[in-house]
Symmetry: C2
Subunit: 169 residues, 2 copies
């Protein structure tokens, strides 16, 4: 059976060494806190305004400001800054915490579409850091698709067409 990492690389098209290019330099030291807050604010503003209701609805039970804080605290922690996320919420446990949500291939692509827009419009993140972050996000999104398929006893079989709405949590 393919590992989570192998599936993530195959589906995302991002090799593992590129996915973790974020670890080559300390992006938090380089950028500071504010660009991360701005990025997550920009990202979730797009998500909560998404014209695609099936995607927007995935986030319907979370407050936008909580979603923003959860995300930038995780990014800061993972990219070399203080462990803000763990101090408040514990281990990131990315697969476990995404369990209530339908993390399909299609949802991953929609997430990445908004993040790409947010990054492209960011003025306080340099071009090289943007490339590293895009690779990390793309690989991670498909890592979570692979993780999501662990929920399905038939995992290994292609995703269901109707898997676009949140499962009962």
């Amino acid at each position: 059976m393919q590992s989570l990492q192998q599936k993530a690389s195959e589906w995302s098209g991002v090799a593992t060494q590129d996915a973790f290019g974020i670890d080559e330099t300390n992006l938090f030291q380089q950028l500071g806190l504010q660009p991360f807050i701005n990025l997550s604010t920009s990202f979730y503003t797009r998500v909560y305004d998404d014209e695609e209701e099936w995607f927007r609805s995935i986030f319907a039970n979370s407050k936008k400001e909580d979603a923003i804080q959860n995300q930038y605290e995780f990014f800061v922690q993972r990219m070399g800054g203080p462990p803000l996320y763990s101090q408040r919420k514990g281990h990131p446990a990315l697969i476990g915490r995404h369990r209530p949500f339908p993390v399909t291939h299609r949802a991953a692509e929609r997430w990445l579409y908004h993040m790409q827009q947010a990054l492209d419009n960011s003025r306080d993140i340099d071009a090289e850091s943007k490339v590293k972050m895009k690779n990390f996000f793309r690989h991670t999104a498909f890592f979570l698709v692979a993780g999501d398929e662990l929920k399905n006893p038939n995992h290994g079989i292609s995703p269901k067409p109707g898997a676009s709405k949140p499962a009962a949590a």
Copy 2:
């Protein structure tokens, strides 16, 4: 509903700020790589020799040397060192990766029993670091028990017989 973090603190008896006392100093810089390798080797030597078959059997499908490497690479990464684990296997995704295993209250206590023994017998980890690591391990073990209960559609209902502590739903 209680959060994972709240359950982890209640069941472990370790407050969040103590659990992440490992982040107050860079333990990897302080200790170096070898003490982590030694600790995981000592831990898994105990686990694979456990007289309690129910616990030993949880690890029966993993090679001891793989279990050792997975563990010390994660510890190194989480405690301030290079992201050895992610570079090889992707995100730690602690809850997702423990999904195949029965992470019960009883299993957490047995895991902690062996880790306590391994730490008590370690000569290359100072006493203060041992305290920080014990708090981190204890809190994390029960965080994973809380994560394990997400698998159970009846989670929130009291744990099965054999669980050693009451759940507070």
